[in-house]
Symmetry: C2
């Protein structure tokens, strides 16, 4: 059994504890052992959190606990977090962190301190998207030519709203603060600093570049107005805050700023609070990773994946990812007959009175309800009926198709396409 | 040093050998040791391949070679490949394969045979996209609710062409065959079987489900006509061949078929030969992985990533992915001043004669060339000039911005946004 201590039980920390409990079946099957949270550190012990783990306000209770194998650092900030993580590593505990500021400043010192002790940080960049995993392991055969990403959901939400609804910058910033997407002091997000921290972490993995935030170009979205958005639209661009890393000979450029980007690019199509990162490798070409960049559960998904990695590394990961079957929760294959879907049908019929009535009657007897219907003329006094249905069951559709095919006023085998 | 033997030196095998050589700097830095191809098996020894590795037409030359650590199986097919891989595992060699058909039928037997010997297969699904990696490691904290993917580039190319250019199915199939996207017998692609093999592999990792192709619903795109495309467009859908896995209580449904999918969905926006897979986890929500699903170099990128994983696993992977610095190829940070970009500028000027001439003169002295210009009136006899430039250098733009700001006919600090 692996025991975890969480330092900083806020939104993400609470999600980590909940996921390890709620998804214990699949997690222990994948990890090959049970993983439990033994204790957590909070600032305010009086606050009710609804968790059944031991809480303390003294970080040493976790750092000095020999039973704890993995320390999850979610306290945020740079200097204090560095001391805590250093102390954990010195006592041989594995560390998982979501702290991008800590890594933006201290990732190489931490790599040296960690040595052979596992130190993981998937959640530090783009929340639930496994981009560290993809870049470090999945694309390891490539020289990385460029990384271009929407790494801050708040900025992307604001740019999307300004574009789609014509809202002014100040109004949308206020709304974002009310929705909790932006902080009371929004500088860290809208000034590009949050994205810059993430970019620096990715640049180390792609290029081995040790740069600090003060070394690179960082600008925000605070100067963007509706005039700019109008221009962008007129010339086929979207406006996005992007973090960009680009290899140019033996140099790497790193920068965060608002960009106009052609609407056809995949990254331009990513709207709202979502994150997306495009990585171009010299061999693989462009790959793109999309998902939620923030939120308690999404971020905790990445933290827990790292915990599972560490738990697994004692033994080699089995090829298909499960170290043993899930207990009491065996999944079985659903019969294809019982799959539910909406359906689109194309039926070639004689174009004469009474046909539609007969046809719709058949739909009714098979419990299939029509959502939309278009009729188009085809050759020889025939018509194509193009029909979409409400939710129906595969076996009912198949039975109806057979019945339709046998009718004298149906002239070709009806065609069916499922609607997602 | 790790020695590799390639069984089946065709397009992908040649790319694997080339990547290991061309990218040896970054690969050995990431793996912590050198990796070389010792030999390869081909059917026809007479054919010139331009490779400096030993070639043989006898598979036993690799299987019985004690110096070879990793066997890369790229011969394709099911039964013979199974025997070869089994033999490699029995002699303790790690295996990397891109063979989806082999895995669609034998993945659980192979997992049992492999035991603690590394057996990797990233290239078997969606070519260069590290989807196995994401699903097995990155999303391991989640119950996977659904997987929905464009897993066959040929079909996606054909559907995209039919949609965008109104080409008939038969014409576009012929074109795809001429371009080499589709085989002379295209059934494996357009019939959905290729996508089904990939879906079955993903379903094992997500759900631990052991199903075979004959157990699941498989249909192709061969019935789709321009009538269907017209209907889809009319109601805001795209037409795609999707592989779908969906958890429904304790059942999992697996199916491959043509689908209508709302154009707003990210997966509907993936066009041409590209692949894309959307994965919904109960904790992370939706994530999506996009990239090239075929091609020698893209597929080999995944094969080589697996080889690196295996080479690394002797020692623990360092946090930032490099086991040692790259020799003779140290990357440095490019000065922010020297970054090249196109730029968009918004300049608020007095709306009077001569202003535009003075302004464009200043652009010229800073070697900045204008691509487009819009003028919009603003309040108080002023105008906003909205300008996009051709490629320019950051320091020139910054210097010009300073000069512009100091002019008496420029009324606010000019705003600049970079164009990607």
């Amino acid at each position: 059994m692996i025991k975890v201590g969480i330092i900083g039980v806020g939104t993400v920390g609470t999600s980590v504890a909940n996921i390890l409990k709620e998804n214990a079946d699949v997690i222990s099957a994948r990890a090959g052992r049970d993983i439990v949270v033994k204790s957590g550190v909070v600032k305010n012990l009086a606050k009710e959190r609804g968790l059944d783990i031991t809480l303390t306000d003294n970080v040493d209770d976790i750092l000095n606990d020999n039973e704890i194998d993995i320390v999850v650092e979610l306290m945020g900030g740079v200097d204090e977090a560095f001391e805590v993580v250093k102390c954990a590593l010195e006592s041989g505990k594995a560390v998982v962190t979501a702290n991008k500021a800590l890594l933006a400043y201290h990732r190489y010192e931490l790599q040296d301190l960690a040595g052979n002790i596992p130190f993981e940080f998937e959640a530090s960049v783009a929340g639930g998207i496994p981009i560290i995993n993809a870049l470090r392991d999945g694309l390891s055969a490539n020289h990385i030519e460029s990384i271009m990403g929407i790494m801050n959901g708040t900025c992307n939400y604001m740019m999307t709203k300004m574009t789609n609804e014509g809202v002014a910058y100040d109004a949308i910033l206020k709304e974002s603060q009310e929705l909790g997407y932006a902080e009371a002091d929004p500088t860290f997000d809208v000034g590009g600093f949050d994205a810059a921290h993430k970019l620096l972490i990715l640049a180390s993995i792609a290029y081995g570049i040790d740069a600090k935030p003060e070394d690179i170009l960082i600008e925000g979205i605070d100067k963007v107005t509706q005039d700019d958005i109008a221009f962008a639209k007129e010339f086929g661009y979207a406006v996005k805050l992007l973090g960009i890393a680009k290899k140019d000979g033996n140099e790497v450029e790193l920068r965060v700023h608002a960009c106009l980007i052609k609407q056809e690019e995949m990254i331009a199509k990513i709207d709202g609070v979502m994150n997306g990162i495009s990585v171009v490798g010299d061999k693989v070409g462009e790959t793109l990773y999309y998902g939620p960049g923030a939120g308690g559960d999404a971020t905790a998904s990445a933290v827990v994946a790292n915990i599972i990695d560490i738990a697994r590394s004692g033994k080699s990961t089995p090829m298909l990812g499960f170290n043993r079957p899930m207990e009491g929760n065996t999944l079985t294959l659903k019969s294809a007959d019982m799959i539910e879907s909406k359906y689109y049908l194309r039926i070639n019929v004689s174009d004469r009175a009474g046909v539609l009535a007969k046809l719709t009657k058949i739909f009714e007897t098979h419990s299939i309800s029509i959502e939309t219907m278009l009729q188009r003329p085809s050759e020889d006094a025939r018509a194509n009926l193009l029909i979409s249905t409400h939710l129906a069951v595969e076996k009912d559709i198949q039975a109806m198709m057979k019945e339709l095919e046998a009718l004298d006023f149906v002239h070709a085998k009806p065609v069916m396409i499922r609607i997602v």
